[in-house]
């Protein structure tokens, strides 16, 4: 019984939140890594693209809610998602046309594009606040919990509760579907193959008759879709607030770099590595160990490796270690 309690407590406070957070990071890191692989620069505007897509989804969700449309137990936001993706797609194609294309034609160095993307980041940042304001916005509806902590305790008779939020489940399921679709697209379709060819060797790809503008456009559209989905899932699971997306940029980049920039598999692995390390290293193991160990060995202290203040530091330590010992990341990304 105590052993079960230990597992439940661990799942409730470590496994479930970390898996959901990891999926959100992975989706975000995939977008960053695709841009890096194909357009060859670190896109700092990615966090705010997420905010923009999520904002459009939130607006659409409110409209649907006001029309009385809903998905029953599922959040209405899922229905509004395609609209959000379209809006974000429009935004990134416009910025590409107006900003990035100029630098691409100049064959600017990646570092210039990085700075340019920061400019785009600030502007997108401003647009989002201008439209929806800086406050927190609620747009989640439907059932809040798949299992709530209280119900779980009654069902199982255990001392510890396990809560799984609907949004956490949706996050993980959506992430799996999206990743599967993305890999199928990159590996099996003609456009996906031409994207990979363009990423591997631009000149060779041009010689084989691949239209670079088309590759760039498709890449941006996929990135917009990934960003909107990641942003909306994050907003659903936590809460929508423009500033948090800006802050997400750090863990997202850490994930992408840890996995290896330019490698989609790496981005996913990196997302989970960062999420799990943030949660497990700062977790106080007192409760779990108290259940799992015999009474005589149960710890008095909190058994916490690092105070939660250092949560962000953890991702950076991992980042530094990876860069020191395996600069191309866990999955051999590119390093220009």
């Amino acid at each position: 019984m105590d052993f079960l309690n230990a597992i439940v407590a661990l799942s409730n406070f470590v496994l479930v939140p970390a898996i959901a957070y990891g999926s959100q990071l992975a989706l975000g890191a995939l977008g960053v890594t695709l841009i890096y692989g194909i357009l060859r620069f670190s896109n700092f505007a990615h966090g705010d693209t997420m905010a923009f897509g999520a904002m459009a989804t939130v607006g659409m969700t409110w409209w649907l809610q006001s029309m009385g449309v809903n998905l029953g137990p599922l959040p209405t936001a899922l229905l509004a998602l395609p609209f959000g993706i379209m809006a974000a797609g429009f935004l990134v194609l416009m910025t590409d046309r107006m900003v990035y294309r100029f630098y691409r034609q100049q064959k600017s160095k990646p570092v210039i594009l990085v700075i340019v993307s920061m400019g785009v980041m600030f502007i997108t940042n401003g647009i989002v606040r201008f439209i929806i304001g800086p406050q927190e916005r609620q747009f989640a509806d439907g059932e809040r919990f798949l299992i709530s902590a209280r119900d779980f305790k009654q069902m199982t008779g255990l001392d510890e509760g396990l809560a799984i939020k609907t949004t956490q489940a949706i996050t993980v399921i959506t992430a799996i579907i999206i990743v599967a679709l993305l890999f199928w697209f990159l590996n099996k379709t003609r456009t996906g193959k031409s994207m990979r060819a363009y990423s591997d060797n631009e000149d060779l790809a041009l010689l084989s008759g691949i239209n670079p503008e088309r590759v760039v456009m498709v890449t941006w559209l996929i990135v917009a879709a990934l960003a909107t989905i990641a942003g909306t899932l994050y907003g659903l699971d936590k809460t929508f607030k423009p500033f948090t997306y800006f802050q997400l940029l750090l863990p997202i980049f850490a994930s992408a770099i840890v996995g290896g920039l330019g490698s989609p598999v790496g981005a996913i692995a990196g997302g989970f590595v960062v999420a799990f390390s943030e949660v497990t290293i700062t977790y106080a193991w007192k409760k779990v160990l108290g259940y799992a160990m015999p009474d005589s060995l149960a710890p008095d202290g909190l058994v916490q490796l690092l105070s939660t203040d250092y949560k962000f530091a953890v991702s950076f330590v991992i980042l530094v270690i990876v860069l020191l010992f395996k600069p191309t990341g866990l999955f051999n990304g590119k390093a220009y």
Partner: protein
């Protein structure tokens, strides 16, 4: 372009001289609060309260022989010390304010005081900075800093009393990682442990993040009968409560002043039934009176620090009247005199009467909207409202 500039400059000059020459000279008073940032929803009510006191004095036409008062507003952002310092600098040097109502959060208030107000010799009266660190017992502030809100050392004591009286002897504490949160958490810990309570863990949280699962995981593991959330309702505080409720880590919470607002009830409603809290707030009689005064101006008189904001502005202006001068160096010593006995008691909405008495050489004891009584280094003694959440509503338990 050059011509236009000259023309503008000339007309400004003419307007300036004409203005200075007129009888009703203008006194400017700065209001520096966090109009944006973590407590923006509280400040939305505080700002108008301070402006109301200014308007009341200005409209009476009795200040220093008929001077008008205008409010100049600056944004402290609550968290960004350099932004707050820049705002204070601008108000003092460019606008020429004679005193400042503000700042709001303890960290930026300290920065504004030492970097701008003290070098320029400007009086600051804060309505809401409650960090014990701002109690200048050895005159480090040159007698320029006052506050109409009590220090958190006192709130820590009150919170500890409330918890122990309701039989709660073991709590977990989380605080927002700044002067306010840390000061309050320390003050609470000292009182609570001295009275026999046990604190299982004291963990800081950073504001502005969306994910607090790591923090709540640690808090839950340490356990406790209640979670004390010394944070901000528009920021991490709510995130912590949300995550604690979702994971079933804690059912009830203890909220200090930064958490208590309509937003809290709106967000959580009956989910936090059984939770309690306390914040500086005047007695019911004073509150009822101030509510009438506030109703006409259209702001919420029961939101935290709103009465204190009104009082902060009123105190500065009354002290000017008592000193017969709008210069900070002259009136800073009068703030104690007008705030405390002896003298005729002055309620909110009676500022005109107070100005009259002072003009005739009388003495007043300003009670105001929050029952101001200055003690020690120039801070309010404090009145606390104890509240609890029942059926998704904020219910007043009593005052202490």
């Amino acid at each position: 372009m050059k011509k236009l500039m000259t023309a503008t400059a000339t007309s400004a000059l003419i307007a300036g001289t004409a203005f200075a020459g007129s009888h009703g000279e203008d006194v400017k008073l700065g209001i520096i609060l966090g109009y944006t940032g973590p407590i923006e929803s509280i400040v939305a009510e505080m700002g108008p309260a301070a402006e109301l006191a200014i308007k009341e004095v200005s409209d009476s036409g009795k200040l220093l022989g008929g001077k008008t008062v205008t409010a100049v507003i600056g944004d402290s952002t609550c968290v960004d010390a350099s932004a707050a310092t820049a705002a204070a600098e601008r108000l003092i040097t460019a606008d020429g304010v004679k005193g400042i109502v503000g700042g709001d959060c303890s960290g930026v208030t300290g920065a504004m005081l030492t970097n701008v107000a003290m070098p320029n010799g400007i009086v600051m009266v804060s309505p809401s900075a409650t960090s014990p660190g701002l109690s200048h017992t050895n005159n480090e502030d040159n007698g320029l800093f006052f506050r109409t809100a009590p220090s958190d050392a006192r709130q820590g004591q009150v919170m500890s009393d409330i918890l122990l009286e309701s039989g709660i002897t073991e709590v977990a504490v989380t605080y927002t990682n700044n002067d306010y949160g840390k000061g309050l958490a320390d003050a609470f810990q000292a009182s609570y442990e001295a009275a026999g309570g046990k604190i299982t863990i004291t963990a800081a949280h950073e504001d502005g993040k969306a994910d607090y699962s790591a923090e709540v995981g640690a808090l839950a593991s340490a356990g406790g009968q209640r979670l004390v959330v010394a944070g901000y309702v528009d920021q991490g505080g709510s995130g912590i409560v949300r995550a604690a409720l979702d994971t079933g880590a804690f059912d009830t919470f203890q909220f200090p002043d930064g958490m208590i607002s309509d937003t809290l009830i709106e967000k959580f409603g009956s989910e936090i039934d059984g939770s309690a809290g306390q914040h500086p707030s005047p007695s019911p009689e004073l509150a009822a009176r101030f509510k009438e005064v506030a109703a006409a101006a259209g702001f919420n008189a029961t939101s935290p620090f709103v009465p204190e904001s009104y009082d902060a502005a009123a105190l500065i202006l009354l002290a000017m009247q008592a000193a017969g001068s709008s210069e900070p160096a002259d009136y800073k010593d009068k703030i104690f005199d007008v705030a405390n006995a002896p003298g005729e008691k002055i309620q909110s909405g009676e500022l005109a009467k107070a100005l009259e008495i002072l003009a005739n050489g009388g003495d007043i004891d300003y009670v105001g909207a929050s029952g101001v009584e200055l003690i020690g280094p120039g801070e309010a003694a404090g009145n606390y409202r104890e509240m609890t959440v029942e059926g998704g509503k904020d219910v007043t338990v009593g005052f202490r």
